[in-house]
Symmetry: C2
Subunit: 552 residues, 2 copies
Amino acid sequence: MNKDNRRWWGWGTLDQTYDLSERPGFYPFLTDELGLTGEGRGPQAELERITLPASRLSADDLHALSAIIGEEHLSAEHRARVTHAVGKSYPDLMRLRLGQLERAPDVVVWPEGEEKVAALVALAVRRNWAIVPYGGGSSVTGGLAALGERPTISLNLARLNQMMSVDTVSHTATVQAGILGPALESALNDEGLTLGHFPQSFEFSSLGGWIATRAAGQQSLRYGKIEEMVEWLRMVTPQGTLETRHVPASAAGPSIKDMLIGSEGAFGVITQATMRLRPLPAARDYRGLLFRSYADGVAAIRTMMQGDRPPAMARLSDVAETRAYLAMSPPSRGRTARLTQAIGKRLMNRRGIALRGACIMILGCEGDEQSVPEDMDAALTVCAAHGAFHLGRSPGEAWYGERFALPYLRDILLDRGVLVDTLETATTWDNLLPLYDAVGQAIAEAIEAEGVKPLVMCHVSHAYSDGASLYYTFLAKQVEGREIAQWEFIKRKATEAIMQHGGTLSHHHGVGHDHRPWLEQEHGPLGLAALRALKRAFDPHGVMNPGKLLEE
Amino acid sequence: MNKDNRRWWGWGTLDQTYDLSERPGFYPFLTDELGLTGEGRGPQAELERITLPASRLSADDLHALSAIIGEEHLSAEHRARVTHAVGKSYPDLMRLRLGQLERAPDVVVWPEGEEKVAALVALAVRRNWAIVPYGGGSSVTGGLAALGERPTISLNLARLNQMMSVDTVSHTATVQAGILGPALESALNDEGLTLGHFPQSFEFSSLGGWIATRAAGQQSLRYGKIEEMVEWLRMVTPQGTLETRHVPASAAGPSIKDMLIGSEGAFGVITQATMRLRPLPAARDYRGLLFRSYADGVAAIRTMMQGDRPPAMARLSDVAETRAYLAMSPPSRGRTARLTQAIGKRLMNRRGIALRGACIMILGCEGDEQSVPEDMDAALTVCAAHGAFHLGRSPGEAWYGERFALPYLRDILLDRGVLVDTLETATTWDNLLPLYDAVGQAIAEAIEAEGVKPLVMCHVSHAYSDGASLYYTFLAKQVEGREIAQWEFIKRKATEAIMQHGGTLSHHHGVGHDHRPWLEQEHGPLGLAALRALKRAFDPHGVMNPGKLLEE
């Protein structure tokens, strides 16, 4: 990938965008919902306007780094420091736009190979620096922030991107952790295999980042969460390099591997992993369905997940998100499309589904030629039993085609002065609707408390036999001059509601810096003591990613 | 359960046995294989002959214990101390038979409820005692041994056996850890649900024991290993009571839950857990198949596990185990049975399968009425593609009917002076056959080194997309006067082969005392440092199960 092609101030690459002109209904919808006036204009990012504290590294320090990796693989330049100072969260992007970067790494290094990583970590220990591992840079929890008083090295893993081996017998691949989604999938697909891990950030996030944050992909119902896919991993820690036993399952005491997955760079740098793969699916089938209510859709997902033929994906939008989804749809073209739509509306009315109060589900099955029709048939039968109206393949295919595109819309909205962020949690089925209500209400109230109109939307996207995740998207007009404080208040109120009502602090984004204040509430004092004990065992001097996951 | 009905010196209850008279071919087969002469007679257990060291607890100590749980719920009597001094491993049962118990707990306590457990742990910390948690007492790794110099309390969890709640919405149940398999399943089945965890020890092992040792049930292909079933748990540690966040999945840092699962009583006492359940299967279908070779059968299991319709169970015996299995079968009765057998033999010959070199697989599918025929069809198609001869339902049903019975045979063999033990490991598919050969050969050579004939058998029973377990059963004539040393030598050679050839120290039995010397080889020095760090965090004074999992 050409790095210069990346949008340093936003999502993805310069050649891609989210074309609002193809969706003429969306911005008017948003204007109406949020009470916007005109086009709106938020702060725009300018690289030169961002001031950074001076680098705390001496010429001798830089020389010592160069001696390890070569001076062409490090940079203390403005652009490198700025782009490695933040991830892709709303407050991170706003800090760039506002030019308010109080902290940044003092240098960025691009080592090649695990030995260089180990040498860099050892140097950091000797010189009392901090190291922030950097994968794809897509953290939305402040996981990349250069906190603390010590000189900080941003350790960019982009050059640890090799496929080490593919085992077509065991259906695994051993891969360096810095590889990004597309390169990984492309190499696996060549062997007829897939990891099946497709988070929305897929194109710009790394294997090591997924493992370090316990990520989940859009088809997690079939392929599992990332922690289920890791068979083996290696981590460079300040106390040495650790590798787990390379076996499919074990009863040799508590799982060391599971102590490292989700450690967010705070214990060490994940350098390699062996991942469990699945055959590249011969068939894919994605459909759209409409439910009378969120409760009906939730019950359908629950029933599917507790049965013998769960789908690969079941993504259920609530009423607000469904309305936004419909407003986003390109207008129907041609007589046939309009006719089909009219017939559909009549049928829906007959089944008692009003478009305005309906909830859309995108349902997907993947697998071999024989199982996909069987799985889809079982899933549609469950949905029908919960009163769903089947919209056919086109909404499913439309969703699939644009499944990584939505983050581009955020940049457009930020340009126009709209606050837009997402957050997520998970809980058991018995608690899903109460938690859904409580968190949605907390977000809306927090937005209104600043005197602006909220749009709060939610979908269920990762489901299990015993529960599911809730993924919120919320929008509001930015409060000029208080952009970060406005967000912080909403985030705090939302997280308090999650913790109070039995959700988890995060289902797949991680802890980072932003969620850290609530970690003790999540795990209790003794759970936190366990994490601190592991931190001391791997990183007694606190070199690794200070202030993330645990306190500095 | 009537405790007096339990065989303190062996497996199960006095009213059950393994009737060799119904299987007249088996003992002659064994006599021939092992070179036995006559009936044979090994040492017989006599409770009175077993001498124990005097209890190290004072009257004041016992009074303090009584004050917590009542004197009727503790015992320092000979029988209680003997029965709680060992588990059910071959060396444990031989120690009883030989009267060689060098160590035993000083007292056994039966607390009711978590508060009593916490009070007992606190008392143990204050008085510098050791605590050995005791669930069903079926450990085969020395997990119950009273090691070390301190007074030792065996904490029997039999009275923590309550079903706290069943959540029929989330398909979970919250259960006290001391409950045994049958009581748990019976309560769940009443709600139309099942845990689906059926280890061979099912009738005499506890939920807490399964979790503490990372157990696996016979249908793990469908229901998963126990660590996948735990949604939530509570543990009483010397530093306080810990409970994990009650959610289906999380990205809030490394999983605390997975630090506790497999901790074998060394961090604390598991008192409660919420377990993920499945609907009680409406249909079950078990079949027998014969493969031309172990490699063919292994390839079939691998293909099934890497496809979209894995079975609930695929248990593949190697040539030696298949021969023993056939020798164990009750003779065919009646003309029709003999005729069917004759036709079957002719068909097998036509497909190139010689009975003497064949490997039997018991294949099982479970689930709803629609999925079981589909799953079985898919599985049989894979097996046929690997040259299997389908034996029909009767071998499957025979296996299912006797699936918990085999441990009873061990007592009969011990009575007759036969060493019989099992051990297990797991590895990736690419390494399965090399490991199988290496470990089998190591066991055989170790047995022969003592001048007796070996019978070494193996089956694959727990399989994953990326690998499988290997479960060995080995038999030999006991070497009189060296019974324990004979076993120790074989065990050491087998474990060395496992570690050298890339297996895991245990797939589902745990570490206990017997596997501890190899734990550093499994996890490396830094992995072991992590376990020790957790031990210090939860149990800084080393009260909990000393010498098990970690050094004293």
